[in-house]
């Protein structure tokens, strides 16, 4: 998987209330959630973000609530991936489960500036800053989670496993 796009920069501890405020959680429709994505962190974001662009943030991205609506909103807004120094653990699981690519890289989180053009080689775990001519490593994804990604998300992984069990394989 190769991704490329302009970046939006956010700070540390971006919480799920900032990503999608609870006042919009009376729906789980991706398009409706996307319209309010990052609203309390940057009210202009949802209106201006273009498909393929990336979010770059500091430590503990996605802390707070377990709401899967947060990665759903980001994905539905067209964001191709999130790069952060670290992720809060529930957000980390949720992103894999719904198929939002995320990359943990303290160096990338520090060096990339808002508006930089960045490319990501997901398989190699390499992040290229095309604007600054720099290259950063992402923390390797555990093999089990790579299986989930390869299956197309957790539910497809589960469905595949159940089919295998049913067929006695």
């Amino acid at each position: 998987m190769k991704l490329q796009g302009k970046t939006w920069k956010f700070g540390d501890d971006v919480d799920t209330d900032a990503i999608i405020p609870a006042r919009y959680l009376n729906t789980s429709e991706p398009a409706e959630l996307a319209a309010h994505c990052m609203e309390d962190a940057d009210p202009a974001f949802a209106g201006r973000v273009r498909p393929g662009e990336m979010i770059v943030a500091g430590r503990n991205f996605g802390c707070g609530s377990s709401r899967e609506h947060a990665p759903i909103a980001i994905k539905a807004a067209g964001v191709s991936c999130v790069i952060a120094a670290t992720f809060a653990r529930i957000f980390y699981r949720n992103a894999f489960n719904i198929g939002l690519p995320i990359f943990e890289s303290p160096a990338a989180a520090e060096k990339i500036q808002a508006g930089d053009e960045v490319a990501v080689d997901a398989a190699a775990g390499t992040i290229y800053n095309l604007t600054r001519g720099e290259e950063y490593r992402a923390t390797p994804v555990p093999p089990f989670m790579q299986e989930i990604i390869a299956a197309g998300g957790l539910i497809d992984y589960v469905a595949r496993r159940l089919t295998r069990e049913k067929n006695g394989m």
Binding site: D17, S65, S66, R89, N97, I98, A159
Partner: protein, 420 residues
Amino acid sequence: MPMTITEKILAAHAGRDEVSPGELINVKVDLALGNDITAPVAIKEFGRTGVAEVFDRERVALVPDHFVPNKDIKSAEQAKLLRDFARRQGLTNYFEVGRMGIEHCLLPEQGLVGPGDLVIGADSHTCTYGALGAFSTGVGSTDLAAAMALGETWLKVPETLKFVYHGALPAWVGGKDLILYTIGQTGVDGALYMAMEFTGPAVASLSMDGRLTMANMAVEAGAKNGIVPPDEITRRYVEGRAKRPYQFYASDPGARYARVYEFDVSKLEPQVAFPHLPSNVRPVSEAGRVEIQQAVIGSCTNGRMEDLRLAAKVLQGKKVHPDVRLIVIPGTQEIYRTALKEGLVEIFLDAGAAVSTPTCGPCLGGYMGILAAGERCIATTNRNFVGRMGHPQSEVYLSNPAVAAASAILGRIAGPQEVC
């Protein structure tokens, strides 16, 4: 190999003799939980697994509590989704308005979670049940869907941080102050991916309500779970209440900890977390003059009997400040009824407070007490992020129930000593 209590519970549910931090394991789930925000997504995803029925209709709990009684049409549709699914699946643990409570107050009270259990819930504050000596953690909707289908989930065995609280707790200082102080020390990601084990004489002296408050906010330090070693207080709480067999686990001498924190809390003051992070804590005496327009006493953090009794003790014979709205939200119907019987509701009404049916409501900015731009609220809830209780330019300060009650009386953030 010596293990921590968290490692032992995980090993038992993985069918293993031992596990080590960092291992990815598949574990059996004793209970899987969802609410009216997270379960609708889980139900949709469950439909895609190809499984017709949940793994065990007694081990999936659905609790509509965030936006119920339904706050608007869309919320009503979500709550209906839960209700229809619960009926179709024959779930024994679906809790309707009028017979429900805030999930993390309700499940322990109903004996649906117990010591030694492994519980996952599509709500970040599922870590609350660690107070009973259970392993309990929050997940997202898709993880809940998979667990509803399989009765299993995958977890990475966490490293454990051990917290030892020495000394006797001063007056008006309880579980909320211990956990706020702790988060102030660790920061909001100081326990990221880790287990927090709460030990020491000060924790042992806490009631179960106080322990539930502590474990509830482990996630605010980034933790996977918070856990309190079960003891006689635990046994008294679960006896006659537990709906399933339970088992006490204890950390071995020599168990490995990533770090051990030792705190002397004998001189700890009530703590207040200032906007906009739960780690931004100060002793109440150093709050300065912060005028408030609203006070909220309730939530999965502090909506239990001990919390209401503390608030009533402060409010008895006093009036809420003319410029303040005080909203009291008992955590469950049972707590509401007990508060009525004990005369607490009358004390709240006499003081000029609004008393609500159980709901998460204002804690997450849902309804039942939303803030306007520029307004400040002191709340016994768990998060004070930007916009958490309403307008992005409003502010939330976190405290224990006695501080929230005293602040409601004085119209500014204040300790209970100022009014009692």
